[in-house]
Symmetry: C2
Subunit: 252 residues, 2 copies
Amino acid sequence: MESKFQFAKEIIGQAGQFIRKNMTKDLIIEEKTRFDDLVTELDKEVQTLLVDSIHARYPNDCFLAEENNLTADITKGSVWVIDPIDGTVNFVAQGCDFAVMIAYYEEGQGQFGLIYDVMNDVLYSGGGQFDVTANGQKLPPFTDKPLSRSLICVNSSMASQNFMGLANLGCQTLGVRCFGSAGLSICRVLSGRLLAYFSKISPWDYAAGSIMGEKLGYKICDFYGKKPNFETRQEVMFVPKEKLKEIQKYVH
Amino acid sequence: MESKFQFAKEIIGQAGQFIRKNMTKDLIIEEKTRFDDLVTELDKEVQTLLVDSIHARYPNDCFLAEENNLTADITKGSVWVIDPIDGTVNFVAQGCDFAVMIAYYEEGQGQFGLIYDVMNDVLYSGGGQFDVTANGQKLPPFTDKPLSRSLICVNSSMASQNFMGLANLGCQTLGVRCFGSAGLSICRVLSGRLLAYFSKISPWDYAAGSIMGEKLGYKICDFYGKKPNFETRQEVMFVPKEKLKEIQKYVH
């Protein structure tokens, strides 16, 4: 597993380098489900680069990924979950605040996760048997703090609809932030900057963070506290386990 | 003016260094108007450091600043507008995403503005007779792009209340972001990452950005398009001048 983890770190670094090198050229931007659901040629190229590298080294492993309809079931065999560019809208509009994400499962057990903040060159990685680190610096487990001294991150349309009472929770905290990247928002929770993250996202958006979070006292769950299905896009929260009950007083 | 601008760059760098050096110690955090309106001893110390430096060099200049009730009228004489830590809540909860801001006026005319992203060590500065730069790199003037390819930044409570139709504007764009720092949000507009910024803020929150923006085709105004009063906390927007009419179709 150690060498597989090292390999994942190498290829995610290469993917970041590839993005930084190619992002300045005129990109073909396509709309997927609607005008604000974007994909670029780079999303697809980066995924191909990652899948091809993994397939060459581990030919029997399977894939669950954002592009190209790769839909392996994470509960069976060795499965890599890939989001080539998380935060594609930020990538297109801002040229920053996006991430590459990789998670690795064996028979449904998360072995390690990686989230690479490409433009800040910060790699969050670990989980399973590995320490969770940010560029090699070990991240501490969650330590309790009151809602009134915490910030949360909420998907902007869920916030504006007060979905399941999220705005009420927001009022108990120092405020609500919104960054537009699931991966980087989860990293802010993992590093203790934000208390929790709420959004409607897909398995490749939360897989890596979920594996790292498990090691530090956080969990990904739906709004009823249940594990998400790792298949469809769902409303989920990434929260400290010991804060779940308190959060569910407001969000239900 | 050149030497005054150089001097401002020096002292804002010193202020940032002072914050980075002292932010890890246990800070005294006080609540101002309510539990989520915070000030720390560092806010006050940084302001004193800046005001003392300026006063020693320019003893006749006056001050409009966030702390300690310094309330000069920017339309008269030589006035420095100072926000020692913009984004104090981020500073306390996240240890990042905050800025030091300085603006300088003579007889109501903005001469230069500076916004220092302390943790990323990026200084945005210029306006008046000076080019607007980010760490010395000249920023280009606004170039038009459609709402449907743009992001906006909205204060989270204004967004959740659909204040003046802001949520309707949000639906025309790629999405809404919220960072919790007026200065850094304005810098994202100045650097072309965000199209516009909407919040309820005070003169020291928008003065520096306003002077830099003037040079690049942006303006700070209230929701009716009028110049803010530079006295009280007001709902304002920081927008490209040539987009104001289009934005006001949704925000009114």
